[in-house]
Amino acid sequence: MERDWPLWEVFIRSKHGLAHKHVGSVHATDARMAIDNARDVYTRRNEGASIWVVRAADIVATAPGDKEILFDPSEDKIYRHPTFYHVPEGVENL
């Protein structure tokens, strides 16, 4: 039975976090069950304020073999990093 339950990836936004973060996965037969299972597996210690689940099969990912062509070219573009600016005091979450 367990074999047949699809895998869902779980994203949780913590109380102080701004974005949902991937925390792991659960098996579930449907979206509602996936949410409940994610709640029961990943928020036992008061971690969460919001949960997203998405079927693992619906995630489109980059291929490991494309790493070089996708990511290496940005390595030497130092001018893309905003290290030349002063961040005014009091600005959070930049």
Partner: protein, 252 residues
Amino acid sequence: MTINKQQYRYLLRLGDNALVLGQRLCEWIGHAPVLEEELATANVALDLIGQATAWLELAAARRGDGVDADRLAFHRDVMDFQNVLLVEQPNGDYAHTIARQFFFDAFHYPLLEQLACSQDEQVAGIAAKAVKEARYHLRRSGEWVIRLGDGTEESHQRMQQAVDALWMYTGEMLAADELDQAMLAQGLGADLAQAAKAWQGYVDEVLAEATLTRPSQKWMQQGGKQGRHSEHLGYLLAEMQFLPRAYPDARW
């Protein structure tokens, strides 16, 4: 019965329902069908045992003779337990566990909603915390009833069997006896007629969506609230109480 004695017995009912069902659910640990269900079941069990602790502590305080919650949980005999018969029924297959849970949750949630407005501040405080947990329990068990009832041919059949088998244990918790009436009159307890109405609503809605047939059986088993239990409770208590009784005051 003095007022405090009445309150003590009423609080025992609340505590014992949660304690016995929590203990039953713990029996799934290490045996649940999938990991996610095991954790979810353990979460519900822990919610209930936490509630039982709060109710039994309050019961002990109202009894007022120095007894504590552990003493009440681990050193009372079967006939002193005041839980409804439903919660002591064995786990059976997963459909039985789910049916038992749903029938109880559909009662527990509206009950706690009312108790959260109790004129007794301590009762209201415990219920206000527990009602959030119970609301999630009800949602979760209801979804499982629907999932299994409206699932495969086999899951439908097993879910229907479980609903039919446990139906006769559902009347007791919804019917007020003298103690329930006295506590309602005092402003401490809940109006079971109102809880029963909510229960019927939840059950009818979920059974219909689950494509399950509502049993037509009218005769209801009763006695748990007065301490007359099915044989199953004795075995459950033997396992739960063995250690504190064999090694009094054991600590870890």
